[in-house]
């Protein structure tokens, strides 16, 4: 429901990821983090929910 609300507010769904990873699944954790990083990198810098500290 949180993801749905964020998406409803216009946040890109690819920026939010839910996974179930056991503490014993180190390789899965690495894979998931890699996958998310790649996805978000491809999307570029967001202006949503990001404070502009240059002002």
């Amino acid at each position: 429901m949180m993801g749905n609300l964020l998406e409803h507010m216009g946040v890109d769904r690819d920026r939010l990821h839910f996974s179930w990873i056991s503490s014993a699944e180190a390789t899965k954790f690495v894979d998931v983090v890699k996958e998310i990083s790649d996805k978000v990198r491809a999307l570029g810098t967001t202006k949503k929910f990001a404070k502009d500290y240059t002002k």
């Binding site: 216009g10 839910f18 179930w20 404070k51």
Partner: protein
């Protein structure tokens, strides 16, 4: 509905006379036209102060908490519309208030009016407003208008499907007919039909006048945390200023704290001094609670809320 008030007064007089309740929480007349205020009546002499009309837009469940329950065996009585009663049930389900401490005086409700919608029809300040059944006579220095209540109903009341309290101790009138809606969430569907950038702009435009007064939170019966996340300073979850990111974060999180709990009573919007329809956030959650879990908050004392229990049938396609 206007006949209800005599019955409400009679019930309250009885309850206070026989000592069953310590106080009755109801509505009293306000100091300006089209306003009411919450009142705690503790003596029979004050029962006359109670009113019930088309301007009782706040949610009285907000004035019942575990901190103000009578210490002795007495109860606290609440004059409850459908939504107020549902929020009382939510209090009980969340173990804030025991059922046996609250006496629910149910009021069949035909909806409350949107004061801003009425004010828009006038160029100058409204000086008087009287209600006669389903019509309102509104007067200002320049004009007088007779308005049908159904034409100026609040948006949440237009789409209300639980006008009668689902749980009560006594009803103050005959139940009113419940509405059956083909499209219960047209406003949410409308926003969902936009593209992501337009949706983001919609919410940015919606909250741009927010002054962070937290009236929406204070009016909400769901917000009973001793320290709200916005007031916490260690850690400070969200900035306190007018930065638009902080404002968006506040509204997003405030809404999400109401997930699966909101009864769409409209008290948040009623309380907002800037006229922001903060229900645009909570309505999406209400729609999802209904679509994903078949859940409407505050209908049943025995069913646990969807975000409170695990079921193997819970939707989990978002977990990758």
């Amino acid at each position: 509905m206007d006949t209800c008030i005599e019955k409400i007064k009679a019930i309250c007089t009885d309850l206070l006379a026989n000592g069953e309740v310590e106080k009755v929480i109801g509505f009293a007349g306000g100091s300006i036209p089209m306003a009411t205020r919450p009142i705690a009546v503790t003596s029979e002499a004050d029962v006359e102060k109670l009113v019930f009309n088309a301007f009782c837009g706040l949610n009285l469940a907000n004035y019942v908490s575990k901190n103000n329950l009578p210490k002795n065996g007495a109860k606290i009585a609440v004059v409850a519309k459908g939504c107020d009663a549902r929020n009382l049930v939510t209090h009980m389900v969340e173990n804030q208030v025991p059922r046996e401490k609250v006496f629910i005086i149910g009021v069949p409700c035909t909806g409350m009016v949107d004061k801003r919608m009425i004010a828009q029809r006038f160029e100058d300040e409204i000086t008087q407003c009287t209600q006669d059944g389903d019509t309102l006579t509104v007067t200002s220095a320049l004009q007088q208008e007779v308005i049908a209540k159904k034409d100026v109903l609040r948006h949440n009341c237009q789409y209300c499907t639980h006008r009668n309290p689902p749980v009560y101790d006594v009803m103050s009138g005959d139940p009113v007919e419940e509405q059956i809606l083909d499209q219960p969430f047209p406003d949410v569907d409308h926003i969902a039909s936009m593209d992501p950038e337009t949706r983001w702009d919609h919410f940015a435009e919606l909250t741009k006048n927010c002054i962070r007064c937290y009236a929406c939170r204070n009016a909400c019966p769901l917000c009973y945390c001793p320290t709200c996340f916005v007031d916490e300073s260690s850690p400070q979850w969200v900035g306190k200023g007018q930065d638009k990111t902080d404002i968006t974060t506040f509204h997003f999180l405030r809404a999400f704290h109401c997930a699966g709990r909101c009864t769409d009573c409209g008290a948040c919007v009623e309380a907002c001094p800037m006229g922001i329809n903060v229900r645009d956030f909570t309505r999406k959650l209400n729609k999802d609670a209904l679509d994903l879990f078949g859940w409407e908050a505050g209908m049943d004392l025995d069913r646990r809320p969807p975000l409170d229990v695990y079921s193997p049938d819970d939707p989990d396609d978002f977990i990758k």
